[in-house]
Amino acid sequence: MQENEDIDVKCCCDGNKKDKFIEEIFAEYQPIKDNLIQMLNEIQEHYGYVPMEVQKDLSEFLSIPMAEIYGVVTFYSRFSLKPKGKYNISVCMGTACYVKGSQKILDRLLERLQIRPGETTEDGLFSIEETRCVGACGLAPVFTVNGEVYGKATVQKLDQVLDKLMNS
């Protein structure tokens, strides 16, 4: 499961006033516990992470303890406590890609960016994720940058993409 040592996160809302997006979500869903994961999915999608403040709001809205919400957020790999980088690079570590050499792609990426999977570079530009099967097994090995798929990847191809992103 997810690493969760740093939970220092900036507030996404304006003082006590709730974010407009959060207000919309609260209007859309019934305040029952079953809806927690559905709501978290939308929140993750919108902000790119699940801010601490939002977890507190959720706790009030659904009348469940904050600890329970935090437990759910850290259990599922799709939810993250920290914002992702401007360029979120995911390397597919599904078996089909692994067999075709995705470990080498990941190793090279970690070496170049000097961060671990799940982390974001200090300048906020890059973050790395390991994913399980993007679904493009015919193009293995693949990595994606903000959802765009780069197939039949090699270390060289990765270097080219990184160089381009770093210089843009």
């Binding site: 499961m1 079953d34 437990g71 259990f75 599922y76 078996t95 090279r108 097994c137």
Partner: protein, 619 residues
């Protein structure tokens, strides 16, 4: 809302209109250009191809030609795929730039474009889908509509006997009759464990309770497997129809589909399908003018492998951490919110309507003695025809890898095939002729699993592979029970030691001991099967483990700590291609001179190995 009469009318009219999709001799002046919009082809620009076709047709004011989005055709290695009906011409690896030529040469002038025709493994060009060896040994039941219909139009599903099984069940059969039919067919759960489906339905029906639920497990977590996703993307209504049939049998009025959020296309098409079915009155109250009421909701998973385990999945639907429950009680007795719940896998559901329409006798005539019907496999790894295949149970691995899969690229040797993902095992060369069914796979130390089938050539290190799977299990273990949480971690550490050249023979013994303890003591399927990749690789590739432990050698050159890449002085011609290919500038030497690798800089990525035309680089 549509009446039964109206539905029949739609079916009839649409069937006529779509005859050209399945009949090459269809009497029509129309042409349909089918463009695959499954995830694989979408990743290589098939949405642009679709738009480009539409734009050109509009611009040239060509009539009688329609561009249709479809689900996966199966042969993902040749994507993006475009098929033109009724002549059934198969164009492979199409680019948006090719659209203009296809319209002009094929559609307007009526000539096939040689260079875009798909090639078979022997190099011969094939005209149509059915001519490819890839399709010849397949039998499509669950994938019947994938690549034939537009999954976003309910009318196209209706055209091919859609919702006819539900109509038959509701108007002519009792729940017991339906369950009997399913039992007779011999179909077993396609999620991996192979529990008889009819039996499951019977047990859930027998459970007492006013409120019951039907759940579809679409949390396809096995990395490298995409059978369920393709069905949801290509034929979502087949799952909805089967869930309604199941609900009628067990007495449920509410269903949930638990699908991975990582499958956005599948989620979108499911939602469209549910909305359309509601509009037609095929979900909701008084379905087919009976008292039967049923509705379905989608629940998104959030990236936890363990949620494919049925009780963990239920916890997740309830909005909690996806930790498995202790069984019994089984979901059939106490499932979602403590109510009797029927859980089946996507592929299982996709077979149901066919069984009802064609009969249990027909279905049970396919397959082996104890495993009936077909199985869909996601064929991947070191094999030429990567893609989705559906074969009758009892087909041998050799047929799948060589006849359908087209063999191993670069004429390398087959080393092993992995089935069942992180819960399964490896099948070595000597078992290539084993007929695949639930029992035979278990006997040789693997399992059917959900259908991932990864082929590996002789460049793969089996110790690393075992480590890869354990790494997966360690990060996906939910942490509830100790044997799985801590045991898999310890196993992974030992494998890491072996791969780093720091292991001893004692470590192999420890691995075996741990494996047997974890298998016995874990509470759910994930833990109980987590050691399988290690146990099966040890069974067939013990020599390799010993080489790692004693000789500190990795014959596949995959374990970096034990490998050193060097250039053979005699073979090197000084062309410098390796130097150019090296991403870290570790290769030195002047023009036309023999090159040397600086071992301090080398990251052992292996790029130079494939760049050398003289095969001078190696271990």
């Amino acid at each position: 809302m549509k009446t039964i009469k109206e539905l029949h009318q739609i079916r009839e009219e649409k069937r006529k209109e779509l005859d050209l999709r399945v009949n090459t001799k269809a009497d029509t002046r129309e042409k349909h250009i089918l463009v695959c919009q499954g995830t694989g082809c979408t990743s290589s620009k098939s949405p642009e191809i679709l738009e480009e076709f539409k734009r050109i047709l509009k611009e040239k004011k060509i009539e009688n030609v329609r561009v249709i989005k479809t689900g996966c055709f199966g042969l993902c290695a040749k994507g993006p795929i475009v098929i033109i009906r009724p002549e059934d011409t198969f164009y492979a690896m199409v680019k948006p730039e090719d659209c203009e030529e296809i319209i002009q040469t094929h559609i307007v002038e009526g000539n096939k474009i040689e260079r875009l025709l798909a090639k078979d493994m022997d190099g011969t060009k094939v005209n149509s889908l059915d001519d490819l060896n890839f399709y010849k040994k397949q039998k499509r039941i669950a994938l019947k509509n994938c690549g034939v219909i537009n999954p976003e139009e309910i009318d196209e599903y209706l055209a091919f006997e859609g919702y006819l099984a539900l109509e038959k069940v509701l108007t002519e059969m009792t729940p017991d009759e339906v369950i009997e039919e399913i039992k007779e067919s011999g179909i077993r759960g396609r999620g991996g464990a192979g529990f008889p489906t009819g039996k499951k339905w019977e047990l859930t029906k027998a459970s007492e309770g006013k409120q019951k639920y039907v759940v579809c497990n679409a949390d396809e977590g096995d990395p490298g497997a995409f059978m369920d996703r393709s069905i949801l993307e290509g034929d979502p209504h087949s799952v909805l129809e089967a869930m309604a049939i199941a609900a009628y049998c067990i007495g449920a009025n509410k269903g949930y589909i638990y699908v991975r959020a990582e499958y956005p296309i599948a989620v979108k098409r499911l939602q469209i399908a549910i909305n359309q079915a509601r509009n037609y009155g095929l979900l909701g109250n008084h379905i087919f003018d009976t008292d039967f009421a049923f509705d379905i909701e989608i629940r998104l998973g959030a990236g936890a492998f363990v949620c494919g385990e049925e009780t963990a999945l239920l916890e997740s639907i309830e909005g909690k951490r996806g930790q498995p429950r202790v069984k019994p009680p089984y979901p059939a007795a106490s499932g979602l919110w403590g109510k009797p719940t029927l859980i089946n896998n996507v592929e299982t559901y996709a077979n149901i309507a066919q069984i009802i329409l064609k009969g249990s006798k027909w279905y049970s005539s396919i397959g082996t003695e104890n495993s009936k019907g077909t199985k869909v496999f996601a064929l991947g790894g070191n094999v030429n025809n990567i893609g989705l295949v559906e074969v009758p149970m009892g087909t041998t691995l050799r047929e799948i890898v060589y006849d359908i899969g087209g063999g191993i690229p670069n004429d390398r040797d087959f080393k092993a095939a992995q089935t069942g993902g992180p819960s399964g095992g490896c099948i070595p060369k000597e078992h290539l002729d084993t007929p695949i069914d639930y029992e035979s796979l278990k006997e040789i130390g693997s399992m059917m699993g959900s259908g991932g089938l990864i082929v590996m050539d002789d460049t793969k290190c089996m110790v690393s592979l075992a480590k890869f799977y354990l790494e997966f299990t360690v990060s996906e273990s939910c942490g509830k029970c100790t044997p799985c949480r801590i045991g898999t971690k310890r196993m992974h550490e030992i494998l890491e030691k072996l791969c780093n050249g720091e292991g001893t023979e004692l470590d192999i013994y420890k691995l075996e001991k741990l494996a047997s303890n974890i298998q016995k003591a874990s509470i759910c399927g994930l833990g109980q099967s987590a050691p399988n990749p290690v146990v099966s690789t040890l069974r067939y590739f013990r020599e390799e483990f010993k080489e790692h432990a004693i000789d500190k050698q990795c014959r596949a050159l995959e374990c970096k700590a034990m490998s050193k890449i060097t250039i053979n002085e005699e073979k090197c011609k000084g062309c410098g291609l390796c130097q150019k290919s090296c991403p870290v500038n570790a290769i030195q030497g002047e023009a036309r001179e023999k090159r040397v690798i600086n071992q301090d800089k080398c990251i052992k990525c292996g790029t130079c190995l494939s760049s050398c035309p003289f095969k001078a680089i190696g271990n």
